[in-house]
Symmetry: none
Subunit: 153 residues, 2 copies
Amino acid sequence: MSNKIQEIQSRHALIKELVSKQEISNQAQFQKLLKLNGIKITQATLSRDLNELGIIRVPAPNGFFYKINTAGDQSVLRSRLSEEIISIDHNETLIVIRTFPGRAQGVAIVLDQSNSTELLGTVAGDDTIIVIPRSNKNIKKSLENIKIILGIN
Amino acid sequence: MSNKIQEIQSRHALIKELVSKQEISNQAQFQKLLKLNGIKITQATLSRDLNELGIIRVPAPNGFFYKINTAGDQSVLRSRLSEEIISIDHNETLIVIRTFPGRAQGVAIVLDQSNSTELLGTVAGDDTIIVIPRSNKNIKKSLENIKIILGIN
DNA sequence: CATTATCTTGCATAATTATGCAAATTTAAA
DNA sequence: TTTAAATTTGCATAATTATGCAAGATAATG
């Protein structure tokens, strides 16, 4: 059998399919479902697959279930992040980032998740982000920090 | 020691604080950090706390780390305002409140409806609220005011 | 108060997930 | 094709997390 990559990709596709269609609570159950669909792998491989796909186990009132980690996808966007940004400006107290329409939320999430101590937080609308710096005194430093996080020169 | 609830709430607050400020990769490490902050609990209790708070362990390229679950079951939390709040911070001119994902609007409404003369207004995103104080001069007073309104000690 | 019910926690351990290593397979290179 | 490098996988087990149970603590009730 040639083309291992396709084999893995289709297995990953099935895993994502399954996780989105039913509530799976552990890997043993997951394994069974895969088997029913003709995919036989060990728990070890499944564990690796789930981590690669960013599929996580979340607690719920009635047990646990697997779901796709939304934050995981942000890393993919990071490469094109700078293309979504129109301008970064500031006054004495605030930094304002303008983005393409509908992209503010996505960009803001990256800033939030950077956990930079320079930034107190962000609020994003549709195409505008307001960034609150930790202090007004070195706001230029915060600005530099933002540019680094977003990968802008 | 009376008022167990407060004790638990402050422990939960510390847990949320820790998880949002650093990358914690397992419960043993978590336990140590809590101990450094004067909270001694077993791994079992920590496990229960994390599940109650919807804090999950997510895979990353360089290991695992805990984070607050987006789209967590807020049903449990909905009753307790203070449990929805991760941190309250400020700089010279603004106050920034971080909340659980999707809870910023709900918390902001409480602040808005308090009609406090200390607060000019709020702007809320998904998990961040910006509060604008009446004056920059006594921002700490506004901070206290907010904590009273939200029932935080 | 006294009594009962509810809640919280630790202990010990079960349940579950992650991973080092070696074998097998696949891909790349010569 | 042969050889070498890289990738994938299973096995066994380590590492980590969840939980039944009992004891103690707290809250509720009369």
